[in-house]
Symmetry: D2
Subunit: 137 residues, 4 copies
Amino acid sequence: MNTDNYTFTTTIKVRDYEVDVQGIVNNARYLHYLEHTRHEFCDSIGYSFREMHERGYDPVLSRAEVDYLTTLTLGETMVSCLNISRRGPRYIFKQDIYKTDGTPVVKALITVVVLHEGRVSRGDELNEAFGPYLSPL
Amino acid sequence: MNTDNYTFTTTIKVRDYEVDVQGIVNNARYLHYLEHTRHEFCDSIGYSFREMHERGYDPVLSRAEVDYLTTLTLGETMVSCLNISRRGPRYIFKQDIYKTDGTPVVKALITVVVLHEGRVSRGDELNEAFGPYLSPL
Amino acid sequence: MNTDNYTFTTTIKVRDYEVDVQGIVNNARYLHYLEHTRHEFCDSIGYSFREMHERGYDPVLSRAEVDYLTTLTLGETMVSCLNISRRGPRYIFKQDIYKTDGTPVVKALITVVVLHEGRVSRGDELNEAFGPYLSPL
Amino acid sequence: MNTDNYTFTTTIKVRDYEVDVQGIVNNARYLHYLEHTRHEFCDSIGYSFREMHERGYDPVLSRAEVDYLTTLTLGETMVSCLNISRRGPRYIFKQDIYKTDGTPVVKALITVVVLHEGRVSRGDELNEAFGPYLSPL
């Protein structure tokens, strides 16, 4: 599948323990996949979550909108994609998860604010890191 | 705090392993709390998730909107409340989580469809069970 | 069931999301139940995990032995019991989980050491707290 | 590091949400890593957990012994290795997890029985699949 429209793409294989009694990946797991994808993106641009955390910057969710379109199950692999935008002190991640054949699984809009020593930060240090990767809203 | 405006209310204590390296309950955990609350509600009206599942009815999320307002941490207890409405084949749960002092933690709108043998069900059996508890949209 | 032989007992209801595709509580979840039980015990004697953590004491596992005897599934409630002993700098928790009818589910021996600022502590402060509750090995 | 003594080896990167408030991977997570490694091994020999499950074979743990030697934290990658042996109806997995520099993290002995339609199976079909990979006890 074509992922040219995304700033960052990674693949994640479902782990069997993530599948619940209904035979599908439990809905909360997708929040984990989405977080993991954002953190892999941060890694990829050289500014890891660990490094942020050690410098006192803690990204936290302020809002999540998730549309569940198709289910994933045992043995499947997903393609997890994102774009990042900025609105004031908020980073907005447009995150889409697909099956490897391109079937949409989840479409999400995740709003993140960055706390610095417990207060919402304008995040100048982060803006420098993320600036080159921002998409228009 | 006053929970008269809700159809169902339960309390959940944060388990320490649910708190992440940032010192707060990880964002994905709230989806678990919300699911657990819905299932406790079903239990309370005498139609458990287990019974649904055994009869071939599987509720699955079609959409989740979650606003994260305040964080929870080690040792805290939450009050988790819900109202349920219906729009066609969809059940819409308005779910709010508070600290015990009434501070809002999470406000969520969770849309659920019920699959019966893999297909979206109008859920007549479920409507009978949930009917008396529905709020207007 | 009779739990007189244990220093501490709590009940935990299975949450439906903890049940995996095999229809049983996933093996790793029991480590969570066991940890949660230990932390509830600490709470009950007035020295919470949170307080320990804030004072720089971090209990970490050095060994877990878990016998899985029966499975738990949707809607079930467990009775989780523990005794605590001490050998040098190690706390040894004998932890048993039962169904409410007394059927043994899990028998575990969990060895914990307490780190203080990253080093194994003799834990004098902890010994004072836990001393009255210790069983012979 | 040299993994020649193991039948199967895979690498797993810690996901940041797996790190708890103590700044280390929570003890229960290792049970997930160990399970995931066993399932990846099954995949690698062409007999996936999904296929087993669909044929009515369900591997379940009967015992876990886990020594926790070093902690893992944010951003780290582990090398997860296993050997498999058989004793009567039990499969015994010797599983070791290392840091990428060879530091031992966890050493585990996991005993698995296979249920077939709810009863312990001698697992002739599985023996055929796993036979070529068995180590002496």
